[in-house]
């Protein structure tokens, strides 16, 4: 397991937003986390990347296949980035006053090797040609879809082993979503493990290997995505019909 979350409890605004969540992210897979608004999905991701501190529980992360597990539940956000976890936040979190290139370079903020950074920059511009075209524009001038590409590209600039995405499809049209998920699939095929939060359960279950359903801060269902997509409860609650 690359990431093992064990009985995680997070307290915020006078309530427990996560009340004892356990989930596993195996190395090399795409894992989807689905659930309604307010189920605790975003809090889950923010706790993994160190923006929120859990009350109790452990987040065990194994950066290398046969290396040691470390509990990152008390590690600072910037150190977690250095360990190879990249979090593409809710609402994209683009620095709208900075240029597109600066946004991408911030993704590589902790890396030292300038040549390798430049190489990755060109690679990401190859995946998202629009970013190369708009390199000098302020990121705020991009369309929603372009901003999503920028956010994903920026998250990749840190060369993550685990990529965390919070609702990448939010506010995008169906063609762009399809395109985006194909890119995520390719990224995963190159060896990056992905943990994905999605409201768009159809896409999420279609592209992921396994999925967890979160309700009111608890995992209520989990399993291989293909099986969940056939599950009656999931179909009626998240896939729009029976």
């Amino acid at each position: 397991m690359m990431l093992r979350i064990d009985d995680l409890r997070v307290f915020r605004d006078k309530t427990y937003v996560l009340q004892g969540v356990s989930l596993d992210v195996p190395q090399g897979e795409i894992v989807a986390l689905i659930g309604a608004n307010g189920a605790g999905k975003t809090s889950m991701l923010r706790t993994i990347s160190g923006l929120l501190r859990p009350e109790s529980g452990r987040i065990l992360y194994k950066p290398h296949g046969n290396g040691e597990e470390i509990d990152i539940s008390r590690v600072s956000a910037e150190q977690i980035v250095a360990l190879g976890i990249s979090h593409c936040p809710e609402g994209r979190g683009i620095f709208s006053r900075l240029s597109v290139r600066e946004n991408l370079m911030l993704g590589a903020y902790l890396r030292k090797n300038k040549q390798a950074i430049e190489q990755d920059y060109r690679r990401i511009c190859g995946v998202f040609p629009i970013l190369a075209e708009r390199a000098r524009q302020t990121a705020g001038s991009l369309s929603g879809g372009e901003q999503e590409m920028l956010a994903v590209g920026r998250a990749l600039m840190s060369r993550p082993r685990l990529l965390i995405l919070d609702e990448p499809s939010l506010g995008l049209g169906p063609i762009i979503i399809e395109n985006l998920f194909n890119i995520l699939h390719d990224i995963n095929a190159e060896g990056v493990t992905i943990l994905l939060v999605e409201q768009n359960a159809v896409m999420a279950l279609d592209y992921s290997h396994r999925a967890y359903v979160l309700e009111n801060g608890r995992v209520t269902l989990s399993g291989p995505s293909r099986e969940l997509a056939r599950d009656e409860k999931v179909r009626s609650a998240y896939l729009g019909g029976g």
């Binding site: 923006l51 910037e78 900075l98 600066e102 370079m105 993704g107 903020y109």
Partner: protein
């Protein structure tokens, strides 16, 4: 009233404006990064002025060296203030930080009175700086020229720092979204500390300029530059560095022109005029001249 007279007033306004701008930059940077209205910022000007006085007249160091030392000391003071007063308030409502900054300001002023006495002290730069220069009817002292050159070169250095370096990029990212900056791996505590260091260094050097320009300093001198740089920062669009520079010059120029061009009986109203200018500009441009909408952070 002739053209030379007006030119003279404009020169005076630019000199005053460059000092306001030096203080306003730090004020605006600090607001930009942690949304803190820092009323202790003006008191760093006072500390800078007294440090200059001590180094020049007690130690007898040469002026360029004094300037470098004042810059460095200003940076250290900024870091200490942030560490002691503002870091513990991180995440608290905006008004908490504002009140903390008032407390720091009052404390610094009273420490000044305690150790330095409230008695104003004469402040004199070496003789060569007092020389008056005349250029086609406009006259200014050497010290004014030094203030302008010093202010302009520091502004250029600052723009390079903010726009071209890794630290500057981290500062801009943190100012825009602190959480996402952390997700990039930026150490925000260090970035905020650096912002205080840079802003306070500029305020301290403004103290050196203030003393040289007006020739007298006392422990309460920071209040007026603090307040006016706040006005300058708001006029320019708080959070924006070019805005703070423009705001400083707009304020300095309009203040001097007001005093210089209207009949002398109105000159006592110069501070009232400063705030009237603020109100007028905010009525037309609610976010200041270069301000972006400073709404909620998304």
């Amino acid at each position: 009233m002739n053209i030379q007279y007006i030119a003279q007033q404009i020169v005076n306004g630019l000199i005053l404006g460059s000092m306001y701008a030096m203080v306003a930059i730090g004020f605006s940077m600090i607001y930009g990064i942690i949304r803190l209205i820092n009323f202790a910022h003006g008191d760093v000007v006072m500390i800078g002025a007294f440090l200059t006085l001590g180094l020049l007249q007690v130690v007898g160091a040469p002026l360029p060296l004094v300037a470098l030392m004042v810059l460095a000391a200003g940076a250290v003071i900024g870091i200490l203030i942030e560490r002691a007063a503002f870091r513990p308030m991180r995440g608290a409502p905006q008004v908490t930080g504002f009140i903390a900054s008032l407390a720091v300001s009052i404390m610094l002023q009273n420490l000044g009175i305690l150790f330095l006495t409230a008695q104003p002290r004469n402040f004199a730069f070496p003789g060569y700086l007092q020389k008056v220069i005349h250029i086609s009817g406009v006259s200014f002292r050497m010290v004014d020229l030094v203030i302008m050159m010093c202010a302009l070169s520091l502004m250029c250095a600052l723009m390079l720092l903010v726009n071209k370096t890794r630290l500057g990029m981290a500062m801009r990212a943190t100012a825009e979204n602190i959480d996402v900056a952390r997700l990039m791996g930026i150490n925000i505590n260090r970035t905020i500390m650096a912002t205080f260091a840079v802003g306070s260094a500029l305020a301290a050097i403004a103290g050196l300029m203030w003393g040289g320009k007006f020739g007298q300093i006392d422990p309460l001198l920071g209040f007026i530059p603090g307040l006016k740089s706040f006005v300058a920062a708001v006029i320019g669009g708080v959070g924006s560095i070019p805005g703070a520079i423009i705001g400083g010059f707009v304020l300095g120029l309009s203040e001097v022109l007001f005093v210089g061009l209207l009949p002398p009986i109105y000159s006592a109203y110069r501070d009232a005029f400063v705030f009237a200018t603020l109100i007028l500009i905010l009525l037309i441009l609610p976010n200041g001249i270069l301000g972006k909408k400073m709404g909620e952070r998304v």
